[in-house]
């Protein structure tokens, strides 16, 4: 009986990354989302997709152990500083609050079909935008239009499947060894 030597399967670059950089993936993806939201595109209507929020929500739902709450706080604060929002700390507050709730429901998100996850995430985005509008109204004294709140939340919610498609291979990377 001959001894068959173990040969590891060839792995793609993201699989290696998945094993080595649990923290790197949320960091890289949130940074990319932050930059995407800051790039100035002439002619774009003022309908802003909240890319950093979508990415933070994604990791909180599907891979909470890769995205510690401290990391969420730091990136949300960076988001506040770079975006010029008048209330520094508001995104940090909302992001920590929302991701803490979502990360506790991780098993539910993994069990449910994607379309149901999408509905829950959409509700979260509406609540997120609602909190922002509420804080702006209470602290700054100017209440954003309901139409603007709805449109920005709706457009962001529509963009969630795109975020899921991009981040899904990275999330599953660790299972493929």
């Amino acid at each position: 009986m001959s001894i068959v030597r173990y040969r590891p399967k060839s792995t793609a670059w993201w699989q290696v990354l998945g094993d080595a950089g649990f923290w790197l993936m949320p960091i890289a993806s949130i940074t990319a989302a932050l930059l995407l939201s800051l790039i100035y595109i002439p002619g774009m209507p003022p309908l802003v997709i909240h890319w950093p929020a979508l990415v933070m929500i994604y990791w909180a739902c599907y891979r909470p152990e890769w995205q510690p709450t401290g990391l969420v706080f730091i990136f949300a604060l960076l988001c506040d500083l770079l975006s010029g929002t008048p209330l520094i700390g508001i995104t940090a507050l909302i992001a920590v609050f929302m991701t803490t709730i979502l990360r506790s429901q991780n098993n539910l998100f993994l069990a449910l079909p994607f379309w149901m996850d999408w509905i829950i995430v959409s509700i979260c985005i509406f609540v997120w935008r609602g909190f922002e509008a509420l804080a702006q109204g209470l602290f700054i004294g100017t209440w954003p239009h309901a139409a603007m709140w709805f449109t920005s939340a709706f457009v962001s919610a529509l963009a969630f499947p795109l975020v899921a498609i991009i981040l899904s291979p990275l999330r599953r990377a660790a299972f493929r060894f």
Partner: protein
């Protein structure tokens, strides 16, 4: 060994859970404290904000390259017919502008001679510079842009940002010596500018609505605004000079007057920052609660 591990686990696991729960509470509390402190020390946080923008400036510049390339390709795709039509329109506009230029030169000469006659001094020295738009506000209901200017230009808060169409906003955060400034655009909900309706000669406040639209507020009783009327700066605040074109009245709904900016706020490749030399500066960033 096994017993030691169990004893350790008996303490470590609940401790870890407690730390995790407390850390969330601490982070939430930190965020609230930060919001309150940032409101009280707006100047310090304004500097911090600009320092953060400066830190990511090279990355943003690099990220902007594909957008600029795409824009350039789009411009190149314009057909010859469209260009010919534009050319014709531009020639007509040029001829018209030449007439106005001649008139302006004549009026300037007349103005100078009259000033000399009255021994009148120029009240303020006007300086200006142009810069490119680097980044956009994308995460809140606000609307502001970051502009990169020549480093030697003396930046301060309250400078007027203009395009060919008129005024588009004011600088609220500046990083002197670096040539970077954040311009709060007219349609930002925090933007409030004392204005005058050009035809009706009525004064009010132009407030941003956050969605590209504007609203004229605080008009006196009996004011008769007209759709299409131009809205210009009133110059009441001592920060802005009077007569800068801002917007045009589009709709009147009872005592609510809606307007749109004359300049296209969603197409700001370049901005001219003008220092009219009026009152020194805004005391605080103007997005603070009124």
């Amino acid at each position: 060994m096994n017993l030691k591990f169990r004893q350790f686990a008996l303490i470590a696991i609940p401790l870890r859970t407690a730390v995790a729960q407390v850390s969330v509470g601490l982070l939430l509390l930190s965020a609230v404290v930060l919001m309150l402190v940032a409101r009280q020390h707006a100047d310090t946080f304004s500097d911090l904000r600009m320092a953060a923008v400066r830190a990511v400036d090279p990355v943003l510049m690099a990220a902007q390259q594909p957008v600029q390339m795409a824009e350039s390709w789009y411009d190149n795709l314009q057909t010859v017919a469209v260009m010919q039509m534009e050319n014709k329109a531009l020639r007509e506009e040029l001829a018209n502008l030449r007439q106005w230029h001649a008139e302006a030169v004549r009026l300037d000469a007349e103005n100078r001679s009259l000033r000399a006659l009255l021994q009148m001094k120029q009240p303020h020295e006007i300086t200006s510079t142009a810069g490119s738009v680097l980044a956009d506000n994308g995460t809140s209901y606000g609307h502001s842009v970051v502009v990169v200017l020549p480093e030697d230009f003396k930046l301060r808060r309250g400078l007027v940002a203009m395009t060919a169409g008129g005024m588009v906003g004011r600088t609220v955060d500046v990083a002197p010596g670096t040539g970077m400034a954040r311009v709060l655009l007219l349609d930002d909900p925090a933007s409030r500018i004392p204005v005058m309706l050009e035809t009706a000669k009525t004064r009010g406040i132009l407030a941003g609505q956050g969605n590209g639209g504007l609203r004229v507020e605080d008009l006196p009783d009996g004011a008769v605004p007209v759709v299409g009327d131009r809205i210009v700066t009133a110059g009441d605040d001592g920060v802005l000079p009077s007569g800068l074109p801002l917007a045009r009245v589009t709709r009147i709904d009872g005592d609510r007057i809606w307007a749109v900016p004359i300049a296209q706020l969603d197409r700001l490749d370049w901005l001219r920052l003008v220092d009219f030399g009026t009152i020194n500066t805004l005391a605080k960033p103007n997005f603070q609660a009124p």
